[in-house]
């Protein structure tokens, strides 16, 4: 979820969020398969990106997703 709190200088340098840029033909299930070995865990990716994904079946090429 977006963090509205002002960050300390250099705070982004410690950001440990893992990101994935959606490629052509990818789905949340395929992305979950890649990172977790289990496509059914796509729900974890969906939950982590609820601010940008309204429908787990609809993701765009180039979209940046958090991978928890």
């Amino acid at each position: 979820m977006p963090d509205d709190k002002p960050k300390a200088p250099g705070a982004d340098a410690w950001d440990a969020t893992q990101w994935h840029e959606v490629q052509k033909g990818e789905t949340l299930s395929k992305i979950a398969q890649k990172y977790y070995g289990d496509p059914s865990l796509y729900t974890k990716i969906f939950e982590a990106n609820k601010d940008t994904i309204k429908d787990p079946n609809l993701i765009r090429i180039g979209q940046k997703l958090r991978i928890p």
């Binding site: 410690w14 950001d15 440990a16 893992q18 890649k34 990172y35 070995g37 865990l41 974890k44 928890p68």
Partner: protein
Amino acid sequence: MLRKSSRFALVILACGLAVGCGKYKRLADTAIKTADTAVASAGDDVVKYATDQWQPIVDAVSSAKASYAKGDYKAAIASLQDIGPKIQAAQAAASAKKTELENAWTNLSGGLPQMMDAIKSRVDILSASKKLPAGMDKAKLESAKSGLAAATSDWSAAQDAFKAGKLTDAIAKANSVKDQATQIMQSLGMTPPPAAAAAK
């Protein structure tokens, strides 16, 4: 048998020496007392954070006292030459070092929990996975889990050291945790944050 004039000259000489010795003795006494007071009021930080500059000061005071005990008052005074400015310089160096260490701690204590949280999240999800991703096996996952437990324990020790005022120790422990967390992230196929790769 000395002539009367020689005896008188010797007495005058002895009196002169006594006066001179008395003056240097008083000066040495004052210098040592002043130095002792300055050393006692310098504070703990100067001992902790400017050891290299502080030890010579302590040695100089000890040397002055040893010279005084032997009656070498001029040597005692010489040992304490510029002791005041040296103490001030050591205090300034200690203050700067302490600030540097505090800033380093603020940096590490803001970032390390984020790394640990990211690792825990990934480990938890992988533990729930029916099959592990390519490049990952059970042994690697177990190693990441035990590594995370060790890093968590070490992080707790780092925080305890900080609370106890042991800044140097706290930062050394925190940097060790940073290295451990970086290694674990890499073993899980994760990308460590840029700050983790920065110089200590």
